[in-house]
Symmetry: C2
């Protein structure tokens, strides 16, 4: 509308420049902030647009939908989780990384496991999820059978369930009483020790 000669790097008279530069990333981080603060349910695309200083329909160009945005977040989350798991020395440490990930990236974590908010068939998402699954399986098979029982698949389910349950309950403030002000990662180490101990 305005015929201003504002260059690409300067804001126009309306306080915004036409091309944001990295709007996709801006929307993503704004969304992560909002989700960490208020949960994924209250998330509003229009609000994110306002925070980023763009028009209300701008986000739709990068993420088709609300579901598209959340799917992108979930995929990113599974990617981050996969690399975090790969850095672990053993299975117990992988579990520790799991709960650390949940605490450091609560928004990602919440969205990753909220299937009703995602486009579950999305390719990017499924591949990222598979990547994380591989990382988990590797961690499980790395520990010798006498420390985890014969059935590796069962051990994987056990480890994942324990870590996931602990992380989920933690984020939901359901363990504020029991763990109190102890370091959650230390607490989890004890849980993991209960689950996997050398046969007596």
């Amino acid at each position: 509308m305005s015929s201003s000669k504002a260059s690409a790097n300067e804001k126009g008279p309306t306080g915004r420049r036409y091309h944001h530069g990295d709007l996709r990333r801006a929307i993503l981080t704004a969304a992560l902030d909002a989700i960490a603060a208020d949960g994924p349910s209250g998330l509003s695309l229009r609000d994110l647009a306002r925070r980023a200083g763009v028009s209300h329909a701008a986000p739709a160009h990068h993420f088709k939908d609300r579901a598209g945005l959340l799917t992108a977040i979930a995929a990113e989350g599974f990617g981050l989780l996969a690399t975090a798991l790969r850095e672990a020395a053993d299975l117990k440490e992988a579990g520790v990384r799991y709960v650390r990930f949940a605490r450091e990236h609560p928004a990602h974590f919440q969205v990753m496991f909220a299937p009703d908010l995602l486009r579950t068939g999305d390719l990017e998402l499924t591949t990222a999820r598979a990547l994380a699954g591989d990382a988990l399986r590797e961690a499980v098979t790395a520990v010798p059978p006498e420390g985890r029982g014969a059935d590796a698949r069962l051990a994987g389910v056990a480890a994942w369930s324990l870590a996931h349950g602990f992380a989920t309950l933690l984020l939901g403030h359901n363990l504020d009483g029991p763990v109190g002000d102890q370091d959650p990662e230390e607490v989890f180490r004890e849980l993991a020790a209960m689950l996997f101990r050398h046969a007596g």
Copy 2:
């Protein structure tokens, strides 16, 4: 509006009678159906009203809010869970009841652990939650120390984490591969056996 003489138990000419009879329960069950089908996020109060055959603002009279409705569901869920846990003979069986509850009442379960949808301070909710917490603690302390380790609180966190993680992952279809078509409750029994075994 219409001056029809339809009695309290007959539908008027608009297909509805003014006083529903048990609208609160009707809305609750409609909500549970909708949540089980599409998750809590897509829930619409107006849609529930349509299903129940009442006007769009009718639900607000029974549950002030959207949050009010979900809070009521969560409270009901914790009540059901508490009685289910009390019926268990030992701790392992309590865990089995936990995952059974999640599978039989998926809508309740999802809402109970979605804090961003609830009025977390609600009295009814907190008391129901406390009830369920008591039931869990009783189940934990009932098992002798040599079977669960010295720290009862830690054992409680472990049991809860394992059951909750397993149930959550199950409902999210994250374990469709590993558990396949086995009976989830049987699988969980094996997990529980890994966690609590007599010291060697």
